[in-house]
Symmetry: C2
Subunit: 206 residues, 2 copies
Amino acid sequence: MNQTQKLTNENTVWHEPHIFRSDREKQNNHKSKILWFTGLSGSGKSTIANAVEHQLYHQGARTYVLDGDNIRKGLCKDLGFSDADRTENIRRIGEISKLMLDAGVIVLTAFISPFRKDREIVRNLVPTGDFIEIFCDAPLEICETRDPKGLYKKARAGQIPEFTGITSPYENPENPELVLITGNKSVDECVKDVLDYMKNHGVFIK
Amino acid sequence: MNQTQKLTNENTVWHEPHIFRSDREKQNNHKSKILWFTGLSGSGKSTIANAVEHQLYHQGARTYVLDGDNIRKGLCKDLGFSDADRTENIRRIGEISKLMLDAGVIVLTAFISPFRKDREIVRNLVPTGDFIEIFCDAPLEICETRDPKGLYKKARAGQIPEFTGITSPYENPENPELVLITGNKSVDECVKDVLDYMKNHGVFIK
């Protein structure tokens, strides 16, 4: 490999230096993973994802939270909430997560992601063990009582068609890596459960 | 903010801790940027982007290269090469780049991105100064002689419809941040030009 070779020399085969995921993980002192939070609106996905990120950041990790705020207004602004559009939405989020995984980042996603098959598609996009499905399990009644964005109220009033838990189904994960009973636990306890899982599965190097 | 509060307490307004781009930039010791390489097939975009990444990695920077290999087979596998699909392709790449920018990463993109308006859309997605357009300027004749993937040959044989430079236009950047005359310069010289631009524009902190 001779970096002074002219690009114009058609006889040159330029062997590109390439930085691999393993190089980035070494640089970051942690493996990259996808922490996929799933559950009803109001089940605590976003709150816990952000609290976990906060802890990880202060441990020096490279992280990023993907959520409705940065996805629905950007990459997926052309999509609605029909079943087909929800599927495409999750497919794209899966593909971005895969890129970020390759970039060495611990990606935390906070989407209802109600359909089992869509979550399985994402799981199968990446190497075994890299997709950590975290089910934020809280009864509809509790989520509806919380209703932090007033969405359940609107859905009950018929102002939001196809609202998960009301007029559109949520399919519980069958074999999630982690279940957080968010109705019974504090945010701190949930964060600890997630970090313990990561420690026990060798995410942190040395 | 009391992290021990139960998520179930509907009277609680939970103020989520949030990690901002500025936090990540501080952690990384560099600003995040989009280095947007544009030019004909064979003009050196991918080669130079990877060589720049290699240098940046060894300086301890967090980087990622987006190119046809990781985009066209993943996020944009539903898209073809019509004008509309090319536009949607670049829009999505712009949106991912924006997310990675927010994640503190120096993103290097290596796409022909032939249409001026599409590149301008990406430029306008992000704060002023964060989109660094790098024109890999080489005459069609040289690119066609290189033809590293045999694509020009196929295009001339009519096997690839809408091939940029042959049957689809390439619109030169009007005010790119950087022009690399890749027909006259070595890879090393091009890499140096890019790194010098970054140094001179305060990308590296401390």
